[in-house]
């Protein structure tokens, strides 16, 4: 990674560029040129690409983009420039794994190859979605009770002491700390006190998010701080402060990106190049060994489950797996709500992509794009785990065929007519005393599995 002091110097001494010029001209123009130059195209019949030549082209185009365009530090309005040699060197030095947790719950998350036969690790929780104070522990506990879950990802506390949590106040600092201590309590109740935790989500500023680190909260050498970059190819002091804080406190770093499709990075081909580039740069700028990344959000609808979005994500994950030692840790994020039929199909389609393209671990699943309140549960992790398992051993080509079927089933091939199914809430589908899913929810899953077995070559029951 680039030394933090060097990042500071580049941020303050780099070439000045206005944000609008960067967003509207520099980045989109270069992306379009590179897609042409490297002949990177999208074919709706190929949602999960398998062409190794494509992955090589995307990798080289992404490196070229970073060298030619760089990253914009929006706080200084200056470009952080990269040198090709340093980018390639940083990739070579990646460890290919990261460790979390302690004691009996310590775990090593490893990178995977294309079509790898090993199961991706599940890192679970509502991944940033808002939870009420009443349901925070029960919902987190329901995730921790799933044996497949090897690390927890926190949620956003909706209120604290029954008060709204206001950004920039001490309330958001307290909320960030409490979100972690409540998650720890949930893991204790599930009998897994040493599970690693990735957070924080309740605070918006770097000082609030970093305040999640402390006694009984995020711990050095055990847990991870989420460090979100800005879209697209941008950072600011707040982002860099978090990375520095975690580096110097020996706290794990989860580099995080949420690209947008149809925004400044354009369509599926150019988003594929741009997103791969930001993932590569995240190692040099932030220093974490893994990448938490969401599927590209659709600029018009906010959903991530369309064919083009899956293509751009699949291509990114596969390129990273083929050409780097990165641990890709994508978010599984259905647009439809928990305990609906489409929710299950949307998770399964994403699981196929993650399994075949070489993700090291998978985060989630949440539901409703992570925007609804208390609409998440441990069953989401179970559905994700069993779906990942059903895809293991399938080639990229076979996975493509199945994923296309699943996408058609939930309507993800038709952007204009897709409808999001509203969620069931936790208390509607879980027994609040035993924290076990209702028979109705389990049956919904069993029936969906039987259906997918009947209509695709997936096998859930071996």
């Amino acid at each position: 990674m680039i030394d933090a002091w060097d990042v500071y110097l580049r941020s303050t001494e780099g070439k000045p560029v206005s944000e609008s010029e960067f967003d509207l001209q520099i980045l989109p123009m270069r992306l379009m040129e590179l897609a042409k130059e490297y002949d990177i195209t999208y074919d709706p019949e190929v949602v999960i690409p398998s062409d190794r030549g494509l992955f090589k082209s995307v990798f080289e185009a992404a490196i070229t983009l970073l060298v030619d365009v760089g990253f914009l530090n929006t706080s200084t309005g200056r470009i952080i420039a990269f040198d090709e040699y340093e980018l390639r060197k940083d990739l070579r030095l990646l460890p290919g794994e990261y460790r979390v947790g302690e004691g009996n719950d310590a775990y090593c998350v490893k990178r995977r190859d294309l079509e790898d036969k090993s199961l991706p690790t599940i890192v679970s929780g509502p991944t940033g979605a808002p939870l009420t104070e009443e349901y925070f522990i029960p919902i987190m506990q329901s995730y921790a009770m799933e044996p497949s879950v090897k690390e927890m990802h926190t949620a956003t506390l909706l209120t604290i002491n029954d008060h709204e949590i206001k950004s920039r106040t001490t309330a958001e600092m307290m909320a960030a700390r409490r979100e972690i201590t409540l998650t720890r309590e949930a893991t204790r109740r599930a009998g897994r006190p040493g599970l690693g935790i990735t957070g924080t989500m309740s605070g918006t500023t770097s000082e609030a998010q970093c305040f999640g680190y402390g006694p009984d909260a995020l711990r050095s050498g055990c847990d991870r701080l989420l460090v979100s970059m800005l879209n697209e190819l941008k950072v600011d002091w707040d982002v860099l402060k978090k990375a520095l804080f975690a580096q110097q406190n020996n706290l794990g770093i989860a580099n995080c990106m949420g690209p947008v499709l149809g925004g400044y990075m354009g369509g599926p081909e150019t988003t594929l190049i741009g997103h791969t580039a930001e993932c590569i740069a995240s190692f040099s700028l932030l220093g974490g060994p893994s990448i938490n990344h969401t599927l590209p959000n659709d600029a018009a609808t906010g959903h991530k489950i369309f064919s083009e979005n899956i293509f751009a994500m699949a291509g990114t994950i596969a390129t990273l797996a083929e050409h780097t030692k990165a641990v890709s840790t994508p978010y599984c994020s259905p647009a439809s709500g928990m305990a609906t039929e489409n929710f299950i199909y949307e998770i399964a389609a994403q699981a196929g992509m993650f399994a075949a393209c070489g993700s090291g671990s998978v985060l989630g699943a949440n539901g409703s794009n992570g925007a609804e309140i208390d609409a998440y549960s441990g069953m989401n992790a179970r559905i994700l785990d069993e779906s990942l398992k059903a895809f293991l051993g399938k080639s990229l080509e076979e996975t493509n065929e199945i994923v296309i079927e699943l996408i058609k089933h939930y309507g993800g091939d038709d952007v204009m007519n897709y409808t999001q199914q509203p969620p069931k809430r936790f208390h509607e589908v879980y027994n609040l005393k035993t924290l076990k899913p209702s028979n109705e929810f389990v049956d919904l899953w069993e029936n969906a599995k039987a259906n997918m077995e009947a209509t695709t070559s997936l096998d859930f029951f071996e």
Partner: protein, 213 residues
Amino acid sequence: MSEEALLQNVYDSLTGLNEAKTIEATKECIDSGVEPEKVMKRLADAMIKIGDEFNARKLFLPHVVIAAGIMDKANKLVLEVLDVAEGAGAGKIVIGTIEGDIHELGKSIVAAMLKTAGFEVIDLGKDVQVKKYLEAAVAEDADIIACSSLMSSTMPYLKDVVDLRNDMGHQDRFKVMVGGGPVNQTYANQVGADAYAEDAMEAVKVAQKLVSA
């Protein structure tokens, strides 16, 4: 050239995102005595087409923002001829993403669509302090203050905007319109906002209603 050919030129140049040609075609219309209203209507039609293509993913955000900028300039030329105050047809809006929040994309789409509907839009950017909205609205003599919030922890600032406006005694002067992922009509009512819209297309309709009310 026939009137229809001149207007078609305006339409084609704008949908082709060509600023110089759009301005030239607009001037040609004016010089040839085409009614200004017809030119504005054709510019608006072109923007509707661009909006549709954005929704259908044939065009992307940079195209929409660039087109909205071109449209803005062309509209101003036409308005000069009409000899009316700038934006008098639609209204003036200050817009921004609320304090503490850097989620900008939705706000930028809404701003672009409002521009295309003929509003004069002053985009304050992201992480906009509550008092900045009011300062800008006063300085610009705006009709509407539009605030975007994407997080539960920044939504409370929406209420602060409404409260500050009321404390300043400006409830009749500026309408407050709110939106963004987690915001809904119930929340908008709760904080005393004058209007809420679910997406950019609806935001245009709602803003038009607010201004004509």
